[in-house]
Amino acid sequence: MTEDIIVKTSARLMTPFIQMFGLYVIFHGHLTPGGGFQGGAIIGASMILLAVVYGLEEGEKRLGHDASTVLESSTLFYALIGLIGIAAGYSFLANRVAGIPVGTPGALFSGGAIFAINIVVGLKVASTGKTLFYALSREERP
């Protein structure tokens, strides 16, 4: 722990804020530039930062294998949101017509399915970013 004190300290102080910013981008996807994909990529990058500075185990400790398997598959929830449209008697991925409340434009809770899909995609991309980097940089393979 005495090695690389500056880099390690700065990295660990910044990581929570980077993640917070990623969440901000995800949640404001329908209001400001950005969205699930971009915010997810930022969060994924912050996990990569942890892996770069502290080693791969640090990230594994925080986002375990089980959790990332589930998050990988969170596209499932995307498709399930789409099925709401069919259940309501409209088409796949129907948003407003299917009765999903879209709220007042400009408010945080607006956009209906857009808001939900942003979150789902964000989680998915964050974990995929981590998975890609881990798979590429793992030291020895089983």
Partner: protein
């Protein structure tokens, strides 16, 4: 004036980048270099799309509440390119994984050398 004469400069630069990327992909023997070339080629196509969507005096396609008579740029190419960027990243990541495995097997990243080694091997 000059601006008029060069009004297509976005497209010209995009074509140039495309050619550079393609040339890199074909003539460089190093696999990683090929992948970088692929990325350059992809970004050039993105530049082409986004330039196609730009409008003189347009604003970014985020609605300004209450403003009338605002010209927004074309949002559709931007939406398409977001998708295409994800695709490009996926392909790049997979290609890098393949490159790492190839290096483990052959100890080199030179495409010709790999072919040579493989033909000698089998």
């Amino acid at each position: 004036m000059i601006h008029e004469a060069l009004s297509q400069y976005n497209y010209i630069v995009s074509s140039t980048l495309f050619l550079i990327g393609l040339y890199t992909m074909i003539t460089r023997r190093n696999l990683l270099k090929k992948i970088i070339g692929l990325n350059i080629m992809d970004t050039s196509v993105f530049l082409f799309f986004i330039s196609m969507g730009s409008v003189e005096g347009g604003r970014a396609p985020i609605v300004i509440p209450g403003a009338e008579d605002v010209v927004y740029v074309n949002p559709l190419p931007q939406a398409l390119i977001l998708t295409a960027i994800v695709v490009a990243v996926s392909v790049t990541a997979f290609a890098l994984a393949l490159t790492i495995r190839l290096y483990e097997d052959y100890g080199t990243l030179d495409a010709d050398r790999i072919r040579e080694l493989r033909e000698r091997g089998t």
